[in-house]
């Protein structure tokens, strides 16, 4: 049975030759996460509030806000309260490139399609070499048990594929803490709001190990590793803060009057 896996919510007119075959009938799925960081009151410029994540030790709940297909009703995004991330971390090395985050063969998936967004998540970090003994997403799963990724230098280098931060986000990653980022990956993370890109002071990737339980206090610029008992400093989000706070580039552009609301 060929279901039309349409990208455009309403009038996709894919010709029969190019009609994709879905492996399952389209089921009502949670729409892809878009806005993770709703706008804050301008009275608090120094804090970078984020959606609070419930403190379950091994699974990170990620509130999903609605992508609104034109005629569908939308659920409003959760309001920001605290600025904390809590969960189990997965550690990768330097120069973690986008081919490792999401190999090219999976790029035929179009994230604005909810079914394909979910699938993308299942392939997050599947490109890691076999030297990584723990898989990021278990076979058959769509989400990872790890909601925080800790990386080294030049995280996200390589291709401009936005599928990279999106795949991580779809897999349930809430934040990445890397020593430094490649430009396009950082920009894509901020523009989509899929993951919160933080920078560490020093080699966090050498201090933490996959499976450690960590808490990130964004406002205090710190990461607490409950497994080792150590605290590490993070760099302030800096220039990208207001865009993330607004909820990504579109929300920011609306807020500043660049495009109509």
């Amino acid at each position: 049975m060929a279901a039309s896996a349409s990208i455009i919510p309403s009038n996709a007119t894919a010709t029969a030759k190019f009609r994709a075959t879905s492996t399952a009938a389209t089921t009502p799925l949670s729409p892809p996460s878009v806005l993770k960081f709703p706008s804050i009151s301008p009275n608090y410029p120094s804090t970078k509030p984020l959606i609070s994540h419930s403190a379950l030790p091994h699974f990170q709940h990620k509130p999903l806000s609605a992508v609104t297909p034109p005629n569908a009703s939308s659920t409003p995004p959760p309001t920001a309260t605290a600025s904390t991330f809590h969960g189990v971390c997965y550690v990768v090395g330097d120069n973690l490139d986008t081919d490792q985050i999401i190999p090219a063969e999976y790029l035929t998936l179009v994230p604005s399609n909810p079914e394909e967004y979910k699938k993308l998540g299942s392939y997050a970090l599947i490109g890691l070499p076999s030297s990584y003994q723990t898989r990021f997403v278990e076979p058959g799963q769509f989400k990872s048990n790890y909601s925080i990724v800790i990386g080294g230098d030049n995280f996200g280098c390589g291709s401009s594929r936005e599928h990279a931060p999106v795949a991580l986000g779809a897999a349930g990653v809430a934040a990445v803490v890397a020593e430094s980022y490649a430009r396009i990956f950082f920009r894509n993370s901020v523009a989509t709001g899929e993951i919160y890109p933080l920078e560490s002071e020093g080699r966090l990737c050498e201090e933490c190990r996959t499976g450690d339980v960590v808490t990130i206090e964004v406002a205090d610029n710190k990461l607490i590793n409950h497994t080792t008992g150590k605290e590490n400093k993070l760099k302030p989000i800096g220039d990208a803060g207001p865009v993330i706070e607004a909820g990504g580039i579109f929300a920011y552009a609306r807020k500043t009057g660049m495009i109509p609301a």
Partner: protein
């Protein structure tokens, strides 16, 4: 090896990160991180409008010199003066997208601007299917269909469509690899801003314009507004002087540079290429140079436009353009100098583009295959170069040698253009005599692996010498595949011996 090729400047070494490399910083450092720290007290954001900041030199009476990239930003943001670190809204002259990133960008565009929204300018969007074309993968085929529907709906002027996958020649509009097509179809012009949903969009900097890769969300934004908020990058200057030896190609030059500054050496920075060697390069060679700027983390690469540029553009575009050049007093973050005559053919060993080594020092590396193609090494001149080596040898290749012309035009050149010194033979004839695979349908091919049935995809853990741009684990398919990045000369030489081989074995 590096010290032999780089001249020492009179000023002391400042750039400590690059040990053994002669570099000097002019003026105070424009490090992005420093300006972040300095301005941290206020809310200075990477994407904030200019109004909220007080800048010291805005009286207009003191004009500081600007680099090429800064000037292009200034023009595109309608400002007379700006400096690195500033965030400005730039007007986009051309936006390019392809079959992988086009559909997501379109989805975002419609979601944000409405189902019935129209793109900001139907003539400034260039849609080029090129990545996953000759495959039976249904989603890949569907994605080309999505592009087609969108182009019909929006009446997009430049859509290089393909419908008959069994015979690429039956598609008059189809071009092939986007970055080569952009150049060949006259969409690259000095002084302009070109954005594309592909990291190798920086290739177009060869034409003296600002060209960089962006993600789908940014592209969705440009589709609706024709603008994007960009941060002005500081510029690293690379001065290359000396006569280009006849065994070296631009690929060797950029591998030299990436090996020098590392895969993060140019992050958030512009890379400007000047010098007598650069001036002697053809447009395609300049494209190769700028193509891999992103492999050093660079935001964009630029080569000043000159008569070579104008000649190339003569028959390709009638749109007026205005080249810009760095001022005498322009401030560069660092300057690197190279004496090209001292360089030797290089490879980038697995698994990083900065894992530089001399080709001759890898002569014991046995290889399983050679791949010649992609925006980096699949242009007409790349194939002519490979043919030159095969011609000089007269022997047959020892390993499967895959040839994937970047575009239809390149494919036709391979079959039509005579190779100098061959007595009128074409590249295709020389390749056939050397026992290479038949040149394949033009596309990105196996450079990035792609769907499993992609021609020349590496589906087993093999060793490959490739004229492509990246060699991270799994790049061409198999995670344990070993990819040696090289010039077309080096790739052809390696095919002939079955080992990584310095092309001087055949060219001298």
């Amino acid at each position: 090896m590096a010290s032999a090729t780089i001249t020492s400047p009179p000023t002391p070494l400042i750039n400590k990160k690059d040990a053994g490399l002669s570099a000097f910083s002019s003026q105070a450092s424009f490090s992005v991180r420093k300006s972040q720290k300095r301005a941290c007290k206020k809310i200075v954001s990477v994407m904030a409008p200019q109004q909220s900041e007080r800048r010291p030199a805005t009286t207009g009476s003191v004009k500081t010199g600007m680099t090429m990239t800064e000037k292009i930003f200034a023009k595109a943001s309608e400002k007379s003066q700006l400096s690195p670190g500033e965030n400005v809204w730039v007007n986009v002259d051309v936006l390019m997208t392809h079959d992988v990133c086009g559909p997501p960008a379109i989805g975002i565009f419609k979601r944000e601007f409405g189902e019935n929204a129209k793109v900001w300018d139907r003539e400034k969007l260039v849609i080029i299917p090129d990545h996953y074309i000759f495959t039976t993968d249904e989603r890949a085929n569907r994605n080309v269909g999505i592009l087609r529907d969108f182009c019909n709906e929006q009446n997009i002027k430049y859509f290089y469509d393909i419908q008959d996958l069994g015979n690429f020649k039956a598609n008059p509009d189809y071009k092939g690899v986007c970055h080569v097509a952009l150049a060949q179809e006259g969409h690259c012009r000095p002084g302009e801003v070109l954005l594309g949903t592909d990291s190798h969009t920086c290739t177009a900097g060869a034409f003296g314009q600002f060209a960089t890769g962006i993600g789908n969300t940014d592209a969705g934004f440009v589709l609706g507004t024709g603008k994007l908020l960009l941060k002005v990058p500081p510029t690293l200057r690379f001065v290359m002087d000396g006569e280009m030896p006849d065994y070296l190609l631009a690929k060797d030059l950029i591998l030299q540079i990436i090996g020098e500054i590392s895969v993060a050496g140019a992050t958030y920075k512009s890379m400007e290429f000047v010098g007598t060697t650069v001036e002697s390069l053809t447009m395609e060679e300049r494209m190769t140079l700028c193509n891999m700027v992103v492999e050093a983390g660079g935001k964009n690469g630029v080569v000043p436009a000159d008569s070579t540029t104008y000649k190339y553009l003569e028959d390709k575009t009638s749109v007026p353009y205005e080249p810009v050049y760095s001022d005498e007093q322009a401030r560069f973050l660092s300057e690197y100098r190279f004496d090209i005559s001292k360089l030797e053919p290089l490879v980038a060993k697995p698994h990083s583009p900065d894992n530089r080594a001399l080709a001759r020092e890898c002569k014991d590396v046995k290889i399983d295959r050679v791949y010649i193609g992609s925006c980096t090494g699949g242009k007409t001149e790349d194939f002519m170069a490979a043919a030159k080596v095969f011609l000089a040898s007269g022997k047959k290749v020892k390993v499967p040698t895959f040839l994937v012309p970047a575009t239809q035009k390149v494919w036709m050149d391979v079959y039509a253009l005579p190779v100098p010194g061959s007595g009128g033979k074409t590249c295709a004839q020389i390749f056939e005599e050397a026992g290479c695979d038949t040149p394949a349908s033009p596309s990105c091919g196996a450079c990035l692996g792609g769907p499993k049935d992609t021609y020349a995809r590496m589906n087993e853990p093999q060793v490959c010498v490739s004229t492509t741009n990246r060699n991270f684990p799994g790049r061409m398919g198999h995670k344990e595949g070993q990819i040696y990045l090289a010039s077309p000369y080096t790739a052809a030489a390696s095919a002939l011996t079955g080992y990584v081989t310095d092309p001087r074995e055949f060219l001298q």
